[in-house]
């Protein structure tokens, strides 16, 4: 193995460890942490890792601080971005059970996220609870919202307004969700 290849192999291992093992309260690694550990060519290392993970249906996901997709991000933008490993494809309902959530929990999360998006990113908790009560038992509604907040899907301010939080931005393709919900054929 050439020296260059050996260097990249070692950097690839180090990047895998950093991305998979949770180091802070939130999963993922900041760009500047990767630069410090792997060197300034860390975007190239991540690209190789992403190609490798493709076969396993996983991907290296980049979430920029400004929450906008950027075609050609600058080094500064990359340094401030957070990198995660996420599932590249999607789970079938049977597999979703492995996550430990019931179908009610998924439906509740979908309703909440979609409703907040339609309300320009902010909705009152009371309104969301009323909407959830249409489909879920009343005692479960409050518990579920608390759970979504705890996992980082939602956040709530002091005036009980709900917003989308970091996990929704990292895990949910918001545009695809809205398009699919709006395009769903309803059986009458």
């Amino acid at each position: 193995m050439s020296k260059r290849k050996a260097t990249y192999a070692s950097k690839l291992k180090r990047a895998t460890h950093m991305l998979f093992f949770k180091r802070h309260a939130k999963p993922g690694v900041k760009g500047w942490e990767l630069r410090k550990a792997l060197g300034s060519d860390y975007p190239k290392v991540l690209k190789i890792l992403d190609d490798y993970l493709k076969n396993l249906d996983l991907e290296v996901k980049t979430i920029f601080e400004e929450d906008r997709k950027t075609e050609k991000p600058s080094l500064e933008q990359l340094d401030r971005a957070r990198f995660y490993v996420a599932l590249r494809g999607d789970l079938v309902p049977k597999e979703a059970k492995m996550v430990g959530w019931r179908i009610d929990d998924f439906a509740g999360l979908a309703i909440t996220i979609a409703y907040i998006i339609s309300k320009k990113g902010k909705a009152s908790r009371e309104e969301v609870e009323t909407l959830l009560r249409e489909k879920l038992p009343g005692w479960k509604v409050g518990l579920n919202i608390e759970r979504y907040i705890r996992y980082g899907y939602l956040t709530q301010d002091e005036s009980s307004q709900l917003y989308l939080d970091w996990r929704t931005r990292a895990e949910v393709d918001q545009k695809a969700l809205i398009d699919m919900l709006m395009g769903a054929e309803i059986e009458s």
């Binding site: 996420a86 320009k120 902010k122 909407l131 918001q174 769903a184």
Partner: protein, 275 residues
């Protein structure tokens, strides 16, 4: 006259109504285009010449501020509608109500790419933990209660107390009398027109001494040994000593004048920048 007053009252009510409507649009996330900005601006313009007192001008400014907030909301509304994420909330709500729970969950699963993370302890971290554990001092030793410190009783002389600035050398009234004499002398030597500039009297070589003099001066003025002459426009203050102390209580309403004697002011005075 009567009709002018009634007209002004009506104007105030109109402005109040505009503020309330703008607030409700902002707080309840209503469509900001429900507010006709142009006609409201016309109302504000129409009544503006009538406002004379500051309260009315404040009301006018508050109305303009509320209208500006609504214009900001209108701009955000247009921006949001032009994004690919725009969805009519009523249409979406209706869709969600009519969809099956399972169908909604399946839709989320298609747009959901959960993060992968491992939680596993490594041999290296186990070794680290062992090293830490071995070097850790038992809790009984770490949290040992210290016995309270023994403080012995003793006696202190008056001189020692004066040196520690717990007691003053002279009685306060005596000190004030002396200080009054010093003020009178300073006026004769350095003053003009039987008065001396406040900072020229209290200013000393050290900041501590300056504060001490300012403190005593405040008592001179309060107890009627001297008075303070303030010229707000020129930003000047003078001390005028009385020949005999004057009993001020009951003569007229006494007022307090806060005077800042900060270290910066003292340094400015030293440099001759403070008059």
């Amino acid at each position: 006259m009567q009709s002018k007053k009634a007209h002004e009252t009506l104007g105030r009510e109109k402005l109040q109504r505009i503020i309330e409507t703008c607030k409700s649009v902002e707080e309840r996330s209503l469509d900001p285009f429900l507010i006709d900005i142009n006609s409201n601006i016309d109302t504000v313009k129409q009544h503006f010449p009538e406002w004379k007192i500051p309260e009315d001008l404040c009301l006018d400014a508050e109305t303009l501020h509320s209208l500006a907030s609504v214009i900001r909301l209108q701009s955000e509304w247009v921006k949001h509608r032009s994004t690919s994420l725009y969805t009519d909330p009523f249409l979406l709500e209706d869709k969600l109500k009519r969809m099956e729970k399972g169908e909604i969950a399946r839709t989320l699963l298609k747009a959901w790419h959960p993060l992968i993370e491992w939680e596993q302890i490594s041999l290296h971290s186990m070794a680290e933990a062992m090293r830490y554990w071995n070097s850790l001092i038992p809790i009984e030793e770490r949290w040992k209660e210290k016995p309270p410190e023994q403080v012995g009783m003793g006696s202190a002389s008056r001189e020692e107390l004066v040196r520690q600035r717990i007691l003053r050398e002279k009685a306060f009234s005596e000190e004030l009398e002396d200080f009054w004499q010093k003020l009178k002398k300073a006026v004769v030597e350095r003053g003009k027109n039987e008065r001396i500039h406040y900072w020229d009297f209290i200013g000393a070589d050290t900041y501590e001494e300056t504060v001490d003099k300012a403190y005593l001066t405040s008592f001179l003025v309060t107890y009627g040994y001297a008075t303070l002459e303030i010229h707000p426009l020129e930003e000047e203050m003078f001390l005028v000593p009385y020949e005999k102390p004057i009993a001020k209580a009951g003569m007229k309403q006494l007022i307090s004048v806060p005077i800042s004697v900060s270290s910066t002011d003292w340094q400015k005075w030293k440099r001759g920048e403070l008059k």
